[in-house]
Amino acid sequence: MSGFLDWVGTTSLSQTLQNQFWMVPTIQAVHIMAITAVFTSALVLDMRLLGVMHKGQALQRLNTRFMPWIGWGVLVLLVTGVLLMIAEPTRAILNPYFQIKMAALVVVGAITWSLAKAVARSPDAWAEPERNPVAKPLAVASLILWAIIVTAGRWIAYGP
């Protein structure tokens, strides 16, 4: 593994990212803007599930509005995240915070995806989501998982 990571560090893409001093901070700034879009969108949907925001608005309508921001935002996060790993190959992969972050991302992705599918299949059953018994546990789980992702992401810089 470390042989492979050392090789990644010698590729011309990695060298370019390392040698242009403005590239890594700029890619990180784009990464943060995507976090802003994804985290706020997830927060709004979870607050709707909890009956805190957009009371009276059908969940399907909010999903149509915010799910594309989550989907495209996560794509931007993956692309910028991979570029940052190519720039510093030994920083993330073997870092426990990175591994926790990816595990949480897979779980929250599965929850978000299956909930969106369920709501699209029977929008009427989710028109008033706060009446659905699984809505609140799912919203709390989603918020905790996104919080773990953001926290672990910031702590990669301080990991072993």
Partner: protein, 162 residues
Amino acid sequence: MAVPAFFEALQTSPLGLEISGSIWLFPTIETIHVFALAVVVGSIAIVDLRLLGLAFKDKAVTAVSREYLPWTWGAFGLAVVSGLLLFVSRAADYLAIAPFLIKFVFMGLAGLNMVVFHLLTWRSVETWDQGAPASGAKIAGLLSLVFWAIVIVLGRKVGFSL
């Protein structure tokens, strides 16, 4: 640039030394700052996109503002408190680097844009609350998106400049 002695004293105060000397305090406050800025900029961007007529077109501008601005201000308070704590730990160092200072110029511009928008354009909000926004609202929304994006870029640059 010469940094006043007050900020040197801040940096070496018990609170400053506590934060810079701890292995977990600085990263923890930084993490809180990330949550706060995500909600500040995310909620502002939603209102900006409504002002530009690009999102929530079926909802009144005043309704979108009422829904999101409490989150903006709550998160902004958290960003200020966490930001001040980060600042105290390296006060003199931060004041000596350009991205940090320019960041606050752009936050000032974002604030000024908001004040001008409220004093001028917002007074006629009843006439453009539904449907297509006034051109003043579009300009304010666009400027806000640009200023806050620059604030994020400079904020991230701060971490590379010390």
